[in-house]
Symmetry: C2
Subunit: 634 residues, 2 copies
């Protein structure tokens, strides 16, 4: 599948955009006119640079407000088009995007539009240019893809085709079945964008909130399958207007974009039956293979979180807290002198002490922070191969010759994601710490990660495409310093659950130690450990002197008014610093520890089939952490 990206998706100068697209591995780009206008490089220099970078210039865009106008205006518009055709010759671009008229159309008459398209086609022909006519969702008289196609079909000119843009089509909820009527060779260009489900005016939605495929709410696999069935053989291009992407690192955004296309491509390539089916039902004769779709190594949903690795320069404080929570020290790694293993049943925490001599270039050096997560996957080699093809950066790692080979990649938040071969028995690597088995019933229930706000959508796609996790609907959680956006990524059976949290403080968006951006006040991350008896765990923790996160009396009084709780039970909750939630499936009991560096723990007990994370309690936690921070600051 030939991949392309509109320069408007990326930040930076036009030159920076071209370099980023090429470095990420795109085959081509769409030149967004304004990027060229503000560039000091001539069209010839841009064409030359693209040649040197090995990327094609696939489209010049946009050309606006041509058709559906009176003759005098149309003459002017044709003249304006001609200057663009001349410019395209200098750029070496043979296709231009024509958007349906938004601003100047006065004639709602398909016959007039067809005739004007045909005349534009004649002019385009003299310059060897193809015109891809696209219905903007907010076009004055033409706003539906099938209307645009009817016009193109009626124009019946070899230089006039249509451009299909998933945003303009899916945002209007138009019936997709007529895509099958369009012969692939009359689709002159294909633009993809995903979008979150928002209820707002479509223009603002389009200009600010588009995201890459897999980062929104739409089924772009279905959409692309329908296009493939037409026999379309051109580039599959991303056109995403997104406020965050515009201000993010351009190389990261380009990689994110290409990942989305590779993932989407594979989602169709993996299911060849789907394309054939859709094609059949649409009655089209298109071969569906013209896109040359490449699969990726398959990945199934992870079976669980094998371990969490914490890095610390404050070993005593951290391991004391773990001991208070009932974790047992197992041993040091036989070949890594600063690495310990702690277990609580199946909950495994690796603690890497960062000492001055142990500091390597790859390891960040300060604080206590969540360094990585080991996921149990059914085929670790396949998962790693897939990750590499999805342009994830591999974690450099020293390994003794007889250690289990663990490979992993960096997530967008800088944490390390390792792929472990799933095995129902105790994992092999545990033996490297001199441990055989454990019988306590406890496991890692979920891990809560802080995300830099500009890379939030990237994170969703990362976990979706590499680990087949699913994005649940996001929530806003009030905190004393603003709303925290919380997005749970999870496997279907809930064995892997990761709430991703975006801090409201732009300066606090970095995770201490992982070296993403500047750190003012890191938003804390946590490991939630499930146990069988929260009161027993709390009693142990109390007796061992745990610094619980304080829960206000007002909270318990409010609990009493919200739920019809037994007074004795309520008292027991309060005495043990335990918070409580309830839904129709079951109950949730949990307590929090104080924060060390940027990490804290949560101990939880799920009763029945409670599926959530105690969302009503999150503001209580955030307020308590805010007070602790303020006290520390004072």
């Amino acid at each position: 599948m030939r991949t392309s990206i509109a320069t408007v998706c990326l930040s930076g100068t036009l030159e920076e955009k071209l370099r980023a697209a090429a470095r990420a591995g795109f085959d081509g780009v769409e030149i967004f006119e304004q990027d060229l206008v503000v560039s000091p490089d001539s069209p010839e220099a841009i064409a030359k640079l693209a040649g040197e970078l090995g990327i094609s210039l696939d489209l010049y865009q946009p050309f606006r407000d041509l058709e559906g106008v009176e003759e005098a205006q149309f003459q002017k518009n044709l003249k304006r088009a001609e200057t663009k055709f001349q410019l395209m010759a200098r750029l070496g671009i043979d296709t231009i995007l024509l958007c349906s008229n938004v601003g100047t159309a006065t004639i709602s008459d398909d016959g007039v539009v067809v005739e004007q398209l045909r005349r534009l086609g004649d002019l385009a022909d003299s310059y060897g240019v193809n015109v891809a006519y696209e219905a903007l969702a907010w076009g004055r008289f033409v706003s539906e893809y099938d209307h645009a196609w009817d016009l193109v079909k009626a124009a019946d000119h070899p230089r006039i085709g249509t451009c299909l843009d998933s945003f303009h089509i899916l945002s209007r909820n138009t019936d997709l079945s007529r895509i099958a009527e369009i012969p692939g060779e009359k689709i002159f260009f294909l633009q993809l964008a995903d979008a979150p489900a928002l209820t707002m005016d479509v223009l603002s939605w389009s200009r600010h909130h588009r995201v890459f495929p897999g980062e929104g709410a739409w089924d772009l696999s279905d959409f692309l399958t329908r296009i493939a069935a037409t026999g379309y053989a051109g580039p599959v291009s991303l056109e995403v207007f997104n406020d965050s992407f515009r201000q993010s690192d351009t190389n990261r955004t380009a990689v994110d974009g290409l990942r989305s296309l590779r993932w989407l491509e594979a989602s169709i390539a993996d299911t060849p039956g789907k394309a054939a089916e859709s094609q059949q039902s649409a009655g089209s004769a298109g071969p569906g293979s013209a896109l040359d779709l490449q699969p990726l190594p398959e990945v199934e949903e992870p079976r669980g979180i094998n371990y969490v690795e914490l890095s610390t320069d404050d070993l005593g404080t951290l391991t004391r807290q773990m001991h208070q929570l009932g974790f047992q020290f197992i041993g040091y790694h036989r070949s890594k002198p600063h690495v310990q293993l702690w277990l609580r049943g199946q909950a495994r925490i690796i603690v890497s002490e960062v000492t001055e001599e142990a500091g390597t270039t790859s390891a960040p050096v300060n604080g206590t922070f969540l360094r990585g997560i080991g996921f149990e996957v059914t085929d670790s080699q396949s998962a790693m191969d897939r990750a590499a093809l999805l342009h994830a950066e591999e974690v450099p790692r020293d390994q003794a010759h007889d250690d289990e080979v663990l490979r992993g990649v960096f997530a967008p938040d800088g944490s390390e994601v390792f792929f472990h071969q799933f095995d129902a028995a105790t994992p092999a690597w545990i033996k490297e710490f001199g441990h055989d088995h454990d019988e306590q019933v406890s496991h890692i229930d979920h891990v809560n990660l802080a995300q830099p706000s500009n890379h939030y959508d990237e994170a969703v796609l990362f976990y979706t495409s590499l680990l087949a996790l699913h994005a649940q609907s996001s929530q806003d959680v009030p905190s004393p310093s603003g709303l925290v956006r919380s997005q749970v990524m999870s496997s279907t059976d809930g064995s892997v659950r990761m709430p991703l949290n975006v801090s409201p403080q732009p300066n606090a968006e970095a995770v201490a130690g992982r070296g993403i951006g500047s750190v003012v006040e890191a938003y804390p991350e946590h490991v939630a450990v499930a146990c069988e008896d929260i009161f027993q765990a709390a009693a142990t923790a109390l007796s061992r002197g745990l610094d619980f996160l304080p829960v206000p009396q007002n909270y318990y009084e409010d609990l009493d008014s919200r739920f019809d709780l037994d007074l004795e039970f309520l008292q027991r909750l309060q005495e043990n610093h335990v918070l409580y939630d309830w839904d129709e499936h079951g109950e949730f009991l949990h307590f929090y520890t104080s924060t060390i560096g940027s990490v804290f723990f949560e101990m939880i007990e799920r009763r029945g089939d409670y599926l959530g994370f105690g969302a009503p309690d999150a503001p209580v936690r955030l307020a308590a952490q805010h007070r602790k921070n303020s006290q520390r600051g004072a």
Copy 2:
């Protein structure tokens, strides 16, 4: 007018919110339930603190999902209400907000709701509590204020009244005339919020985008006038859910909120006829004076920008650029040894050199930045008095005994706003620099100020309320590092024009030197000077070696395709680095200088009645500045 604010408007802990509200000068607060639940302070401690701070606790809110339910559920709801009444007794609050049922209502029968309200009233009576029933815009069966009022009227219970919230009413575009039917004493509470004109689902609009009165698109003067006419005598309270306010400095937000109420109050108090009129037309007998509205000293729109003050630690570079632009050095201030005056016709620039010995506590010390603006007002004393009553902070200023008395305040972006007595003749203070008059035709056309993103709405209200400027519709301008939000504040005749720009880079939101937040890359500000002949100005500048901001060749080629320009004229533009725009009223020609510190200049010539600021050229400028910055960084 008694003022109040919901704690949910402010960031921080409940204690911090109470202190901020009191410090700003509010008479009372609404306690938002969640703020209490997450607080470690008992209800009694909160009540005590409020007493010590001298603020009243006016409302407990919200109570949800009471009415329109089956009997068994209603019994539970009553019990839940009772726990809140008990809690309110501990807080010393006598009014609770009851929102129309959103989640659990199953019975769409006004009779049932009336009966349930009456029963709630009986229970409330036994606790001495008043219930203010409010129609939420997204209520299940009750979503209009007049429907809620009909229900309250039918319930006919002394403990049941209504709450009017401008958001829920104005967001639905409901006819306001029925407000006049409500006796003031049955309005148990009044909540005000403004909002920008957005097309989106009303729940998200309400939860994230409310702003203080004067910061949005609604006519709250009219709304409050109608309420005043009912004879309502209770607090006028702000209930504003806003993502930025939630993460901003709580004291600043509180001041911003109180300013909005004082401004709104005065807007009605200033026009006593209006309230009477509205009252008459509504046929109500309410006195309209129960709110005890206080006026503010009047301010008329400013007549012009008297001067701009630049502060610099690089005097030579700055004044060389000003000389290149045709500014003339006039002299040093007679009593301030580091302060120079430069003139170009009526365009006056004061240059304050910041030297190590001159550095005072109030003056920031580094860089070249825009320090302040002198506005010409018809009554400077009145403007200053008004500013003080609107809680603006006065600029401390040394003054020799025989100098003109200049007083001013700090704007939200840290710049200084000075009020000059308008006088058609040459301003008196100019003589302090040994200058009498000037004949060159030139003036300050506009000043472009960078705004910290979290204080954007505050800035709009500041200039509206202190200087009677008007907010024009905002625009997004693409730059290589993201979209720049641009909002023009101007006087009706255009003699004062200030585009306010919010940088897309959260870390770059500060203005160098003015000490707002941390500065990574300051978004540059500029002074635009109008001249009679842009080509002559450019020629002078060229001959004096000005470092023009470079304009790409591609820009001129695009100009050619956009406008039907004479080739010779186009060449002349290009040779002189002059950019060009056109609208139906006239033409705009302008060039930019390079940036010194965080300041640059723009020289402009307006032909005809062109009203804009060359918006299509702004991306060209931003891209060129980005390239210069990148080069400097490399």
